[in-house]
């Protein structure tokens, strides 16, 4: 099974045209989801699980949601906060997020308890694509990127693709989603700052060995410009495809405001794209740090 994302946003209007008989139906929803779980997984990250609608639970790896975070005491976050999908279960009608408390929005999320309601909007953006021909893929992540790559492990297993994950963190105890990757049959190589294994030179050595062993048909990455550049160099050298999930400050999340633009190199030409709508997953070779 391959992941096929809804590409209709690039095609003709999909609403109900004049004289059309099919009733219009939203494919992006903003709804009140019910918090099932919101607890720490390590010293930095918290795991949030919510019950949601069928539309939201249909989210694909690499897609994201805009969360209307509760207001923590004394603070008034105004905008929604973009949050990568950490997991989606269409059968249970649940979506999961992994977040680190860093600002007013995530401090608000931290106040949620089971049974509370959270306004979620999604699924948003263009996610990862898996080619059914790929036997092995290499996923390289750091920081919040580990969460973004997590749903890829499950999708790759369903695609019959073996995942080798190279995960980078400051300390071993801050690595997240390693168990999840193991559960889906992935091999995990952890590199950390505290063990002095996370430098780009060492990661490049690891990746070169994987390519030489025939264990890398494509690169997937998120969370580190330095590691992205290593993969771009190797992808170019060995003619391998790749995808990168990018981050940017966002306001609307649905391509209206042009706040989240980034530059991309498309065949030597610099073009401007919206991370929320044209991404957040882009071709590895077109991404600029």
């Amino acid at each position: 099974m391959s992941i096929q994302l809804d590409q209709s946003q690039a095609a003709a209007p999909s609403g109900a045209p004049i004289g059309g008989s099919a009733p219009w139906k939203a494919s992006i929803v903003a709804e009140l989801a019910e918090v099932v779980r919101n607890q720490a997984v390590n010293a930095e990250y918290r795991h949030l699980v919510v019950n949601c609608s069928e539309e939201a639970a249909a989210a694909q790896p690499g897609q994201f949601f805009q969360l209307l975070c509760p207001q923590p005491a004394g603070e008034q976050p105004f905008l929604r906060r973009p949050m990568s999908l950490y997991g989606a279960d269409p059968d249970k009608r649940q979506v999961e997020f992994l977040y680190k408390v860093t600002g007013a929005g995530t401090r608000g999320l931290d106040t949620l308890r089971p049974g509370d309601q959270l306004d979620i909007m999604g699924p948003l953006g263009v996610g990862f694509t898996l080619d059914p021909e790929w036997r092995h893929i290499v996923a390289v992540g750091r920081g919040a990127g580990l969460a973004t790559l997590a749903p890829l492990a499950r999708a790759a297993k369903a695609n019959g693709t073996q995942v080798i994950a190279v995960f980078s963190a400051r300390r071993p105890d801050l690595l997240v989603s390693v168990e999840l990757f193991h559960r889906h049959g992935a091999d995990v190589i952890a590199v950390t700052d505290s063990e002095a294994t996370s430098g780009p030179a060492n990661v490049e050595r690891i990746l070169r060995r994987l390519v030489a062993d025939g264990r890398c048909d494509a690169f997937f990455t998120c969370g580190s410009s330095r590691l992205m550049r290593v993969q771009q160099r190797l992808a170019r050298e060995f003619g391998l495809p790749g995808q990168v999930a990018m981050e940017q400050q966002m306001a609307c999340g649905i391509g209206l405001c042009y706040c989240c633009v980034r530059d991309f190199n498309v065949n030597g030409e610099i073009v401007n794209r919206r991370v929320c709508w044209d991404g957040p997953v882009f071709d590895l070779m077109e991404a600029l740090p």
Binding site: A12, P13, I28, L256
Partner: protein, 320 residues
């Protein structure tokens, strides 16, 4: 069994009849919203502002949030007229909703030629954005003065037979005088208003929060200010006033209509609740139903003011 009375939500805006008075504010609407709402329910479409030249937009960061609002300095990125006609317009052709095209140019003559070029089948009205606070140098815009508004409107009027809306700025001392100038020069409606020129500074770095230093404040924080300006403009002109500033709910829209707005534009609210416009339309209908108001147009200029209580705002007029 009682029948549900039929509420007439339609409004007439300078030659156009809209099925209801709710439409997006320019810059907060694009094709992708069709995944969130049924486009056949909107009163009108209003495009992002189009310029003749290709514009990349402002440096990042382009937005910063503040309590009750959002400051933006996007800088009107534009891919130009041919791209709009070939790639954007077809998205809207399938819907029975009028397409209002927002335009901007650095000169009055540039506004006129752009309006002429875009006066084509499929375009229902031109909205001239003479008010964006972050496109002109240091926040200046045509709509800050009656004279420049009169000139650009006159040239626009001569250049197009389409209904012509002028989008005014709240960043001037006498918005009603500017509205009068637009009316005198042939505008079919005025949109009151745009974002309020503002600024935010980061206390960690001591740097401005926006790449453009200044930007436009929108959202609930500006509603009372713009509502007052709509009230003043609606008294000053006979052409319709379209209210735009911090409208998030049906109650906000009703307030604007009572102050004199014939229609409303919804902007920042869509960023927080993507289906805000259809929620507002539903809310207008149920308000009219419960108050037994048969036509939504009955709300326009409906604010009750006893003559003796009317506020004296003469001090706002710098010449008096």
């Amino acid at each position: 069994m009682s029948m549900t009375p039929n509420i007439d939500l339609s409004v007439a805006i300078g030659g156009l009849t809209l099925r209801n008075p709710v439409m997006p504010a320019s810059g907060t609407f694009a094709e992708g919203l069709e995944k969130v709402m049924d486009f056949n329910r909107l009163g009108a479409f209003v495009t992002k502002t189009i310029t003749r030249e290709l514009r990349a937009g402002n440096p990042l960061p382009r937005v910063v949030e503040r309590p009750g609002g959002l400051i933006n300095a996007i800088g009107i990125p534009s891919k130009g007229v041919p791209y709009f006609i070939e790639k954007i317009m077809p998205h809207y052709a399938a819907y029975d909703t009028p397409l209002v095209v927002s335009i901007s140019a650095p000169t009055a003559e540039g506004f006129a030629s752009l309006a002429a070029e875009l006066s084509i089948p499929g375009v229902a009205a031109i909205e001239a954005n003479i008010s964006c606070p972050n496109i002109e140098e240091d926040g200046k815009a045509f709509a800050m003065r009656a004279e420049s508004t009169e000139k650009v409107t006159r040239l626009l009027r001569a250049a197009t037979e389409l209904p012509l809306w002028l989008k005014l700025t709240p960043n001037t001392g006498d918005v009603p005088e500017v509205a009068r100038a637009a009316e005198a020069a042939g505008a079919d409606a005025v949109v009151v208003a745009n974002t309020i020129l503002s600024m935010a500074i980061d206390l960690k770095s001591f740097k401005p929060c926006l790449g453009n230093i200044m930007g436009g404040l929108s959202g609930p924080a500006i509603k009372p200010i713009v509502l007052r300006q709509v009230f003043q403009c609606a008294k000053a002109v006979k052409i319709p006033v379209i209210g735009c500033g911090g409208i998030s709910t049906a109650e906000d829209a009703i307030e604007y209509m009572l102050a004199g707005a014939s229609a409303v534009q919804v902007g920042t609210a869509t960023f927080l609740q993507p289906a805000a416009m259809t929620t507002i339309i539903d809310g207008l209908r149920s308000f009219c139903l419960h108050r037994e108001i048969p036509r939504v147009t009955d709300l326009i200029r409906g604010v009750v003011i006893e003559e003796a209580d009317e506020p004296d705002l003469a001090w706002l007029d710098p010449v008096s």
